[in-house]
Symmetry: C2
Subunit: 390 residues, 2 copies
């Protein structure tokens, strides 16, 4: 097991770290600890720089070579800026724990700077937040952000009224939550509007800078911009020298292996595989199903059994929260929305967390927030404090 | 209330964040939240760059000036390297949350690199840890570090035996815990030796580099070095242009004000004040007593009452933990040591935490560690990951 990070991350709750609801250690676990009882697994913290397919070796930064018989690549995706990589510095995305603490720091610093400044224009730019992309991540971010600004922070500031905060959810497509049915998209948009979010659909972003964003040709001063719009697969295609789709995902066979090498599997957000004639979406349930499939196939090969039938993706449904007490859920034809959907969402996510301790801690954090109205993890840390920035 | 950080930190448990027992949010709270019900207090996140005593204004970075009638300065201390500031990069100290996560990252990366490398000399240098300074912080750090190496990590690594870890506690003076009675120092030293720590007293450090340390003229390859040896007061003396002691602490009157300005108070680690003919030590109970004294004096002035008698420090005793189930405690003539002392220490610290939530969370974390033997916060985060370093 080779990873460049020492922890496994539960990405579906990452937006709650970014918005101060949860602490980092509540949704991430050391890989080593998860695998400690598997004496046949060696975990290495290192960065892969390539694969020598002729020698059957993985190349690590620093020059080490790790031999393999079967290689499974599941190196995920990063956010993509549609060719505008220069936007990243001013519009961070949300894929890693560091991304989440970066966004958390920027959100909190914006309110601090608004309180500190004596310039009304600067104050209003600091109190303007733009989230670009209205999939579940974008919707979940603005929901909590609105509650933070309108329900939690107002009593804590003296010079500013955080109720004046302007929060924009910007989507190039015609509606938010495009993977959901249209009536749930509408419900989510109305709920967000009620929370005080400006929902702007059919609005492509044409510019991002340290000053703010440009919508069409209209500049908007917004000091905090978050990117939730597109993803780009990891560089596995370059390591392997194989064809990929437009998002950089490696084209794999129906059994998740390379066309020219049955001993190399590519899974999850890094793979392009079709099921029922459609590409499998880049979501956690799909990656987990692929992991199980690959394990089954490898085991069949090692024990001389017949290979399983080609991989078939089973869609588990769509879930997204809207603020702290509403959600939309869709399982096939079954739909749910409102506070009961939030609880179903919450229980499902507690269930998917790893380990009893995390489950207890996350449940307690949520209950605490629910009962006290106070978020728990509002710390500005890391080097880039106000001190170092100015 | 002006602070360059957005949180108040409970420093006595900082070593537990550095050694993966607790998460950052369990021992730090947003200042704004602590003061939210005090409508007459405005909190500003900013860095002070000076005091204009003639104009009665505090100068903030960025050019803002904040007027005052009474000014209270309690800006603390940083670690000091006795004139060898170049050691800081390789031997970080432990004063802030960032310090704690830096040390945590280095500790965890050292084990990871030992597992990764194929060079025996490098492996042994990665598995050598040196803590310089044997006050409570140094003793508490090596205690948990020894338990981490010998009790928690062995089952998780495959190429290295973390029982081979070498942990050194280095002290220039004749004994560890010099503020304690000699018999408790001896007890602590013996307990640490039993945990596998090499206790080296009367051993000044003459060099620190990325390779390791030099003791006298003997170089020791140690990739992880932690500084717990000396402190230097904040720069308040420069802001005020007043005399200070050797550690940079401002000399104040028995009522904690400047000799030439009764409207400026200096408290805590930044102040040099005598009580019963001895300088008041730089510990949390002393700072809290000074805060209460200053509040009392200011209130007396505002209400026209008689000023209280000069500040008198009441020593509350010494406490230090040794690993996860032993401690030494001293209240005047009363002494305690062993596991019962650990529980007294633990309850005292839970009591001093701020807020019900933190108390519950820290208690749960400790109970979980106690019952499961697994530390909770073993995450390597921040920019300086293995990826960026190599």
């Amino acid at each position: 097991m080779i990873d460049q990070r020492n922890h496994h991350l539960f990405q579906p709750l990452l937006y709650q770290v970014a918005t101060t609801l949860l602490a980092t250690s509540e949704i991430a676990w050391p890989i080593r600890r998860l695998l400690r009882s598997r004496k046949d697994v060696t975990t290495l913290l290192s960065t892969v720089e390539g694969v020598d397919r002729a020698a059957h070796e993985v190349l690590l930064r620093g020059g080490q070579r790790i031999p393999y018989d079967t290689l499974v690549i599941a190196t995920g995706a990063r956010h993509a800026y549609f060719g505008r990589d220069e936007w990243e510095a001013d519009a961070p995305g949300l894929k890693t724990l560091e991304d989440a603490t970066t966004i958390r720091r920027r959100l909190l610093l914006a309110f601090e700077r608004a309180e500190l400044t004596e310039d009304p224009a600067e104050r209003s730019a600091q109190l303007t937040f733009a989230v670009i992309g209205a999939g579940p991540t974008g919707v979940e971010l603005v929901g909590i952000l609105a509650e933070l600004a309108h329900r939690i922070l107002p009593t804590e500031f003296r010079r500013i009224d955080t109720n004046q905060t302007r929060i924009m959810l910007i989507e190039a497509g015609p509606r938010i939550l495009p993977a959901f049915s249209e009536n749930l998209s509408d419900y989510a948009a109305k709920s967000l509007t009620k929370l005080g979010v400006e929902v702007k659909t059919g609005t492509p972003v044409t510019g991002v800078s340290g000053e703010g964003i440009v919508l069409g040709d209209q500049p908007i001063a917004a000091r905090t911009v978050i990117w939730a719009a597109g993803v780009q697969a990891s560089r596995a295609k370059d390591w392997l020298g194989v064809p990929a789709d437009r998002a950089g995902r490696v084209m794999v066979q129906p059994d998740l292996t390379l066309a020219d090498d049955p001993n190399i599997f590519v899974l999850g957000d890094t793979a392009h595989v079709e099921s029922d004639g459609k590409p499998v979406p880049g979501v956690a349930p799909a990656a987990k199903q692929q992991g199980q499939y690959a394990a089954k196939l490898i085991r069949a090969r090692l024990t001389g059994k017949a290979a399983p039938a080609p991989f078939k993706y089973k869609h588990m449904g769509n879930l997204a929260t809207i603020g702290r007490n509403s959600a939309v859920i869709e399982f096939g034809k079954f739909q749910m929305r409102g506070w009961l959907a939030w609880w179903v969402w919450g229980l499902a996510h507690i269930y998917f967390l790893i380990g009893t301790r995390s489950r207890i801690m996350v449940l307690l954090s949520w209950m605490w927030i629910f009962l006290s109205g106070q978020n728990s993890a509002r710390l500005i840390t890391q080097k880039e404090t106000l001190k170092d920035e100015q």
